[in-house]
């Protein structure tokens, strides 16, 4: 079933009785070519691009809960490609280009809205750093634009330009950045993969791997054993737990990141705005709520809830750049598990076990990467070699010394 304006009109006139579930609920087969563990954004995108671009359709996605129940359903929905290092930036620009054509590609309304992202800077030194970043962005065709304070005063008069501690000196725009309806991303990829023959199996928890003589031949699940030529883990915050079943220790710590939504307000924020002197980012959803977040809580955790000191820190960040936010009432907050890697950058790689693949370490930047992560992971699974845009996202980069540390913080995950 393809969605179209005509279809909506027809259904509207006939009582909307013709809509059907957009993916099947199959029982697992005994054997697949590829098993993807994790039915989140990245796992479903991997299944979608495997079946669509690489022609591998005998694929199962195993999800412990329901699809989209993890981080793809609990992020702040921002997309952008304003990274700096060569190991990252071409990958994220590939992702942004995929976002731009995504809805036409998978025929599903994901509400991709390129409403711009603005990174504020507050000092001369920070302006220099942002100019350098802008140049790196333009090298990958991502587009970048430096705005001075006078321009921002015209465009965003509500910002606290003359803040005593953090005066706003200007900002770095990426006009192509923006937001996406996050749940629809999971649903759209699931529907697209299902239409190509992928089995999406929910409530199916992987409890072990079948590994014989260094070769992975399948997985053990609560629905029985399933064989596969290739097994691909894609479970974000639970990466260490799942890969431990295969005897691996990862360069990852799991942390919690909190996010917040206010009551619905009239249109007030045109795009995404980030604070340069602390950690705070905010946008306005189409329903009107201000969606914002800040730092991770900073300690290992698997509890999907955070603590109050970070709530206070985030609120202070908001008040520092736009005091008007103090009048908005908080509607809800929540936490998600971040697979924080040792250099703040992700992994899309083979493992030491033949036939077992790993995708993770996305820290709190996984949502924007969803399409490219799926595409590059699918490439690796289908061709047994990394996609040209993901060659540096290797698991062995800490021993080889080829780390991708955007912030230069070293092996301290809670600082990335």
């Amino acid at each position: 079933m393809r969605y179209s304006a005509l279809k909506i009109l027809k259904e509207g006139l006939t009582g909307n009785k013709g809509w059907k579930p957009v993916w099947r609920e199959p029982e697992p087969k005994k054997e697949y070519d590829v098993i993807i563990i994790g039915g989140g954004g990245h796992g479903l995108a991997t299944a979608y691009y495997l079946s669509k671009v690489y022609g591998v359709t005998n694929v199962a996605v195993l999800e412990k809960g329901w699809i989209g129940s993890g981080n793809v359903g609990r992020n702040t929905t921002i997309i952008r490609s304003n990274y700096m290092l060569p190991g990252n930036q071409p990958f994220y620009e590939m992702s942004l280009k995929l976002w731009e054509g995504l809805e036409q590609d998978f025929n599903y309304n994901a509400m991709v809205s390129q409403r711009s992202i603005l990174n504020l800077f507050h000092s001369d030194g920070q302006r220099d750093a942002f100019v350098r970043r802008a140049n790196a962005m333009m090298l990958s065709d991502a587009g970048a634009e430096l705005a001075d304070a006078a321009q921002l005063r015209r465009e965003l008069p509500f910002l606290d330009f003359d803040n005593a501690r953090f005066p706003i000196k200007g900002g770095l725009y990426q006009r192509r950045g923006g937001t996406v309806r996050h749940d629809a991303v999971a649903w759209g990829f699931a529907r697209g993969a299902d239409m190509n023959g992928v089995d999406i199996i929910q409530n199916c928890e992987v409890t072990g791997f079948h590994i014989e003589n260094g070769v992975c031949t399948g997985v053990e699940t609560n629905k029985g054993p399933i064989k596969a030529n290739k097994v691909a883990s894609c479970v974000a915050g639970s990466s260490s737990r799942v890969m431990a079943l295969a005897g691996m220790r990862l360069p990852i710590e799991s942390h919690v990141l909190q996010a917040f939504v206010t009551e619905g307000l009239k249109p007030t924020l045109p795009g995404v705005i980030t604070f340069g002197a602390g950690h705070f980012y905010v946008s306005q959803s189409d329903k009107g709520g201000l969606v914002f977040g800040g730092d991770i809580d900073g300690y290992n955790t698997y509890a999907q809830c955070g603590n109050l000191p970070v709530v206070e820190d985030v609120a202070e960040g908001g008040m520092a750049i736009m005091p008007m936010i103090g009048r908005a009432r908080l509607l809800r907050s929540w936490g998600g598990l971040m697979d924080m890697s040792m250099d703040g950058s992700p992994f899309i790689d083979k493992t030491h076990v033949e036939g077992l693949f790993f995708n993770g370490g996305w820290c709190y930047g996984g949502f924007k990467a969803t399409p490219a992560s799926g595409y590059c992971y699918a490439h690796l699974l289908a061709k047994d070699e990394p996609h040209p845009n993901a060659t540096e996202m290797r698991l062995d980069r800490f021993i080889s010394g080829h780390i991708i540390d955007e912030k230069g913080q070293g092996n301290q995950p809670n600082l990335h």
């Binding site: 260490s240 737990r241 990862l250 300690y299 955790t301 698997y302 800490f398 021993i399």
Partner: protein, 95 residues
């Protein structure tokens, strides 16, 4: 979270800085043949368990002591707090 400091009593976790797994106390011997591999494991690989976790907290806004806190990563419940110095000495490190 409240950390029950062995010397100062219950303190707000916000006074502390978090470093990570208390295995960081056990720095490998740099003179062994496979030291590079050992330091890679020490510096970069983590158990990252769901459940009980021994970890290093630094009381930056207090007495500047390092603590080994045993905390459940599923519930945030803290079951044990020790001075890191005592733990290190018990493990045969330091003086």
């Amino acid at each position: 979270m409240i950390i029950n400091h062995p010397l100062l009593g219950p303190r707000d976790a916000a006074e502390f800085v978090y470093l990570g797994d208390a295995a960081l106390i056990d720095r490998p011997d740099p003179s062994v043949a496979d030291a590079a591999e050992k330091f890679h494991e020490y510096g970069y690989l983590r158990d990252n368990p769901a459940g009980e976790h021994q970890e290093l907290w630094y009381h930056e806004q207090g007495d500047r002591s390092w603590l080994v806190v045993t905390r459940n990563t599923l519930s945030h419940e803290i079951s044990k707090v020790e001075l890191a110095r005592d733990v290190a000495v018990a493990r045969g490190r330091g003086r």
